[in-house]
């Protein structure tokens, strides 16, 4: 079932998926699981993930599930396969990285507000620019597929810190991608936002729509860059989150108009002009 903003509603409660694979992808991993009961998610939605065993219970940490944007959702002969891109950086991601095929992955989702279609953001939109940083390429992979199927002209820019902190490129194997890396190991040496600035400045008019996900500082740079040039943008944000369904009020993001939004139910995709900053305190914390 879908809500007014295109969000797909989640089956009630938490369910067990079976991990179908969990393979390294550069410095990251792609965790895949079969979702027999769930609906196909919309691009930009996320799931709360926890390993079936060794999570909560007698283990001290991890205790809370972890929020992950879905990177790919593909109908296979065994059911809907969900792909998540992760990096082993803390107790939760470590437990997820250690899951093996056949083990249980507990999920709640799909959750949250997805990306909008380009013309829902800008009536004159002529195409879309996808800008991803590090693990933030995940929701852009499923978005690229969705927009591509609708014939939207697409340009994709991806940036990484260094070789150890990069991966997931197979999610974009279909298509041309502009690359940047801070250490220069791939593509432009520098930030992906350098590429975006050049692209926006080269465009004839502010007719594109920018979709972006990545580290908070990168998102803030994208947001500012788009605002300065009058380009509409949607950003997929990340904050520490306990529940993912509006219960805990922990995932507060300051709004441009004052006050806060709950990123889990009013995001994670937000309009660039909706928020005061894309880097609220605590937003870079992962585990």
């Amino acid at each position: 079932m879908s809500g007014a903003d295109g969000r797909v509603q989640a089956p009630l409660g938490r369910r067990r998926l079976t991990v179908s694979s969990n393979e390294p992808s550069g410095g990251y991993r792609i965790l895949s699981a079969l979702d027999e009961a769930g609906p196909a998610p919309a691009a930009g939605q996320f799931y709360m993930l926890a390993a079936e065993s060794g999570w909560g219970g007698n283990a001290e940490r991890p205790y809370l599930p972890r929020a992950f944007s879905v990177a790919e959702a593909e109908v296979t002969d065994k059911g809907l396969r969900l792909d998540f891109l992760l990096e082993d950086v803390g107790p939760g991601t470590h437990a997820l990285a250690a899951l093996e095929a056949g083990e249980g992955l507990m999920v709640t989702g799909p959750l949250g507000r997805p990306f909008s279609a380009p013309r829902e953001i800008n009536l004159d939109a002529a195409g879309a620019i996808l800008v991803g940083g590090g693990l933030g390429l995940a929701p852009l992979a499923i978005l690229r597929k969705a927009l591509g199927e609708r014939g939207v002209p697409l340009r994709t820019l991806l940036g990484f810190r260094d070789e150890a902190h990069s991966g997931g490129m197979e999610l974009f194997r279909c298509c041309e991608v502009g690359l940047a890396s801070e250490d220069g190991h791939a593509g432009h040496r520098g930030y992906v936002t350098d590429l975006l600035a050049a692209m926006l400045d080269g465009d004839q008019a502010a007719s594109g729509v920018v979709y972006s996900c990545g580290p908070p500082a990168m998102l803030e740079a994208v947001r500012t860059m788009c605002a300065e040039r009058g380009v509409a943008c949607e950003l997929a944000l990340e904050t520490p989150m306990a529940c993912g369904f509006g219960a805990c009020f922990g995932c507060a993001v300051p709004l441009a108009e004052g006050g806060y939004m709950r990123l889990c139910v009013d995001g994670p995709v937000v309009g660039g002009n909706q928020i005061e900053t894309a880097m609220p305190a605590g937003s870079g914390h992962r585990g």
Partner: protein, 293 residues
Amino acid sequence: MSASPVEFCGIELEHPIINGSGTFDANAARRVFGDELIAAANFPFSAFVSKTITPAPRPGNPPPRLWEEAAGMINSIGLPNKGIEGFLEHDLPGLGELPVPLIVSVMGTSAEEFTTLIEGVAERPEVDGLELNISCPNVHSGLIVGEQPTETLALLNAVRPLTGKPLIVKLTPNVADPVAIARAAEAAGADAVSLINTVKARAIAPGSSEPWLGAGSGGLSGPAVRVIAVKQVADVAEAVAIPVVGMGGVERGSDARDLLAAGATLVAVGTASFRDPLAGARIRAELAELAMS
């Protein structure tokens, strides 16, 4: 020690598992999960306790608001809410559609503010009872109402005559003697007490000597506080004759059984719902199984 129907302050409940205030937003969850959530067979609690409302809207605390800790978490949410007018207009209609009785949690900084809240809420037909969150300072005395028996007594004396509906007083664990507060609440006519609220806590930001949470400190919840809750619920239940709602780190049916054995009439599930939206239903089922064995 059963999962059977139970009478609480004159309200008939299907079973003894409810939610802790501020740990489940039924209206938001309905947007996420759809109307399945409010089917009587699915709703995880036998009564619903709303998030605390205050007279004026509050934005809540600056982020970060959460910290995962060993076997639990610290929160410093800061009671964001739409204020009583926003609650009555936007939230109450949805809460009125829930398939279970509704208890509205209110917090003021004076007897006058509590009066405004209780008068605004209690007469609404959707509302079956009120929970008084007394973890806030009294603006007149500067004292935290729930930390002082005299303050608790004075507040209840002022507001008890305002409504015939059940008044539940939420107790803090951050006092030397919660029994004294519970006795004061009972003496002034409270219909029930609920405990424990979160335990004051602070986390230090990684690689820093500064507090992690935007508000500096917050409240610890989850399994880490469970045995504190068992002790305080037992002490309070022994000291007062009014019903006790026990909560704190309940994850399993056996945790609920422990609180019922300690003297609680109802058990509230809080942080466990963050991990699993239907934790309340699972805990109830586990409790029923334990009662059979």
